[in-house]
């Protein structure tokens, strides 16, 4: 933490001393500075000239052979077939703009570019401004910044489990489950909603479907009667959870309706229904309501460990016993955050329009993971910009009686704008090329929905050998997309 204090703390003294180009626009980074230092633009002895060119030679050869020449070849390859031997004109580009699976990558790149750079810049700005006011800013900055040294692969795999469908693995679904179960507690005997099951599937002996997901006794009972209600399809795991014990037949008592709720399945007599055997289990914890003939409640009860229940002080008339719907309410089973389902309603659109206009949920989950990875970068760069602001201007604003909000909006923000632009541009370039996160975080089932240009380029070019044409055309498009950023950089450097 000692080193951290020196580097992430305020001031960045070393930064200016080193003369590293700060995004706040340290003059050393521009060509203007070159002119003003008055370095000789040329001349000198021939031998001297040759000598200094030798220093440049390794870099020049390397860049010409492995960067510049390949760029040219890629442009050429993009109008050739996949073995790069015969000319096909613009065929590869036609394929790109007509193949739905590739068009989807443009949509995803667009989603990333529209959302991510702005949100990450906003987060970075917020953190940078807020940390200026706390005493433990160094610790805070270190925590936020740390994920930047993790590989996108490792980070994506961390987040893939965080968003896992199973609440026993995925933290997000575990949190949603906790909240959801708190609002809507699941019953002891939940139905399997994913299989389209309802409580009616449990009815076996003496039971029929009741109102809104409940079950009720098929026949009516009066005071002094006993009722036996058998349920089928209760699994063994549930029996263990509820601590079921052997069913005990109910004994009648006057003025009361007593009864038994039992599992209508005996392992020793697997085909017999409606009978109690020594290995028949009672179903404990079942929430019951005694219903009058008009459907109103005349009392409630809960079954004991043996499945027995008793409604006392029952008046005259006929009643039915209801097994409440909440016994069968199923718990939260998880949201598939990493799925390709769209968060925008598109089902009424044509298939092509759907592909182009839907926003798959997995994109948003990945954007959250990527924010975790890059907010520290934005914060540090913007923070460096903040510290290099002219404090006198801020002071002048204060002396003139401006409020802190006014100072921030009228002085800080305009001065900071160039830094914010640098962060935005850097992040736009970054997400245009996004690859590892998609490959590692989107599961196989939704990877096609989440694919980006960089991933499509890889899949087209390097699946089952090298296929040049289509992949080269995608690479060219990717290159053209970063050209505006390149121009912006050149403008900035030229000052």
């Amino acid at each position: 933490m000692r080193m951290a204090a020196r580097s992430l703390g305020r001031g960045h003294p070393t930064l200016r001393a080193v003369g590293v180009s700060t995004p706040a626009g340290a003059p050393a980074a521009t060509l203007k500075a070159d002119a003003t230092t008055g370095r000789p633009a040329g001349g000198g002895g021939r031998r001297d000239q040759l000598g200094s060119l030798l220093f440049l030679a390794p870099a020049a050869i390397w860049l010409l052979a492995i960067t510049i020449y390949p760029v040219v070849v890629t442009f050429r390859n993009s109008v050739f077939d996949e073995t790069a031997t015969s000319y096909v004109g613009l065929h590869n580009y036609q394929v790109i703009f007509s193949d739905a699976s590739i068009l989807v990558t443009f949509r995803n790149n667009l989603i990333w570019v529209v959302i991510f750079p702005f949100v990450v810049t906003f987060l970075g700005l917020t953190f940078a401004v807020l940390t200026e006011r706390i005493r433990w800013s160094t610790a805070f900055k270190t925590i936020i910044f740390m994920p930047i040294v993790f590989s996108a692969t490792a980070s994506a795999l961390i987040w893939r489990t965080i968003f896992d469908l199973d609440p026993h693995i995925g933290m997000v679904n575990a949190a949603v489950q906790t909240a959801s179960d708190w609002v809507n507690p699941p019953g002891l005997y939940p139905v399997d909603t994913s299989a389209g099951q309802t409580a009616a599937a449990f009815a076996s002996t003496g039971l029929s479907p009741g109102a809104s997901g409940a079950l009720q006794s098929s026949s009516t009972a009066a005071a002094g009667d006993t009722v036996q209600l058998g349920l089928i399809g209760v699994n063994v795991g549930t029996l263990q959870v509820v601590g079921a014990q052997t069913a005990v037949p109910p004994s009648p008592s006057s003025g009361a309706i007593s009864g038994l709720v039992y599992r209508d399945f005996s392992p020793s007599h697997p085909t017999d229904r409606g009978q109690l055997f020594p290995d028949t289990d009672g179903l404990p914890g079942m929430l019951l309501t005694l219903l009058r003939s008009d459907g109103s409640s005349a009392g409630t009860a809960t079954t004991d460990q043996h499945g027995d229940f008793r409604f006392g002080n029952v008046g005259t008339g006929s009643y039915r016993v209801q097994l409440d719907a909440r016994n069968f309410r199923s718990g939260f089973t998880g949201i598939f955050w990493l799925g390709g389902q769209s968060v925008t309603p598109t089902s009424h659109l044509s298939q092509t329009a759907q592909a182009l206009l839907s926003v798959p949920l997995v994109d948003l989950a990945m954007i959250i993971a990527y924010l975790w990875m890059w907010a520290g970068f934005a914060m540090v760069v913007i923070g460096a910009g903040l510290t290099s602001l002219n404090r006198e201007l801020l002071e002048a604003g204060r002396v003139d009686g401006a409020t802190e909000a006014q100072i921030f909006r009228r002085i800080t923000m305009p001065l900071l704008a160039p830094v914010l632009v640098v962060v935005l541009v850097t992040m736009i370039i970054n997400v245009l090329k996004i690859f590892d996160v998609i490959l590692n975080m989107a599961p196989g089932s939704s990877q096609g929905d989440a694919s980006t240009l960089a991933l499509a380029m890889f899949n087209e070019g390097f699946t089952g050998g090298i296929h040049s044409g289509l992949a080269s055309a995608i690479a060219v498009i990717l290159f053209l997309l970063v050209i505006p950023a390149m121009v912006a950089n050149l403008r900035r450097i030229r000052g």
Binding site: T14, S21, F55, T74, V149, S151, N440, F479
Partner: protein, 306 residues
């Protein structure tokens, strides 16, 4: 003179109000930022705990339940992985492959960039500014535009000389160096331009050759910047997956990123390997980060264009 008190009064009042306002909001801020910080730490803590829990617990209960059962934590996953030794494709083999790629690729970039930056700043030839602008333009070129041609180039080289760098560690190093150079030259050039020319002129008058000037004057002065570059490049190459998949995807020896990726198809069954491997893969960048953070931050700030 009579105007002075009225001019000062509102500002003093504003300061006091601002100060009190700050003090009030500070405790609220502390709480908000503490919550943010905890949120930010959770993924890393989760990964650490998953890697320290025996395999069977992964699908049984969430890693956070370990807070109630700390006895679950063991180094079992690590010892299992390490006991495999240097088997091809294993975690130790991937670790050494990662190092074998990253160290040369990083050092070469640092050396070649410093040489080139020297030439761009102190060299006496025309067109230095144009070359520098070309370097700046190359900063944002996506690796995708070079992958296929370089593979073709390697294969052509192989058919002529008998040595095909495609699929070899040398091949991937050459590629990484090419894509590290623009940033390296950019960073070093912007640093060297701050060195006063007088320092070199004095040496020149004394009759020192260019190599001597570079070695004796420029190199020692440029070490801090070279350090930033080295760290930045190290982490860049260490964390790469795309270039590794293209150039070493079919090789049995591959870096840690491919090691992790290779288990994603059977994620749930192998998450104990993934979490442990991921911890091993982030350990070295983390050490670099905490010990040399100052240099790393400088590299990041300079690299805000990559």
């Amino acid at each position: 003179m009579s105007a002075a008190p009225t001019a000062i009064a509102p500002s003093a009042q504003a300061t006091r109000r601002g100060f009190l306002g700050l003090r009030l909001s500070r405790s609220v801020l502390d709480i908000i930022l503490a919550v943010v910080a905890i949120f930010w730490l959770v993924p890393t803590i989760g990964l650490t705990i998953i890697s320290l829990r025996p395999e069977r617990f992964f699908q049984q209960s969430g890693w956070w339940t370990v807070l109630a059962a700390p006895a679950q934590l063991t180094f079992q996953n690590y010892t299992t992985l390490f006991s495999q030794g240097l088997v091809a494709g294993g975690v130790l083999d991937s670790l050494t492959t990662s190092l074998a790629i990253t160290i040369p690729a990083t050092l070469l970039v640092a050396i070649i960039s410093t040489l080139a930056a020297y030439s761009l700043v102190f060299g006496r030839w025309r067109g230095r500014d144009a070359v520098f602008l070309a370097v700046v333009a190359l900063l944002v070129v996506p690796v995708q535009v070079a992958l296929i041609p370089v593979v073709q180039l390697y294969q052509a080289f192989g058919s002529v000389t008998g040595f095909n760098p495609f699929g070899t560690i040398l091949g991937i190093i050459i590629f990484h160096v090419a894509f590290g150079l623009p940033f390296g030259i950019f960073l070093m050039r912007n640093f060297l331009i701050g060195i006063p020319t007088d320092l070199l002129e004095a040496g020149r008058i004394d009759g020192a050759g260019q190599w001597t000037l570079f070695q004796r004057v420029v190199l020692p002065l440029s070490l801090p910047a070279a350090m930033s570059l080295t760290i930045f490049q190290f982490i860049w190459v260490w964390n790469d997956l795309l270039v590794a998949l293209v150039f070493l995807g079919s090789n049995v020896h591959h870096p840690l990123t491919i090691f992790l990726y290779s288990f994603t198809r059977t994620l749930a069954a192998n998450y104990w390997i993934i979490s442990t491997g991921a911890m091993i893969s982030i350990l070295i960048p983390l050490i670099v980060f905490f010990s040399l953070q100052r240099y790393f931050v400088q590299g990041v700030l300079a690299g805000a264009v990559k």
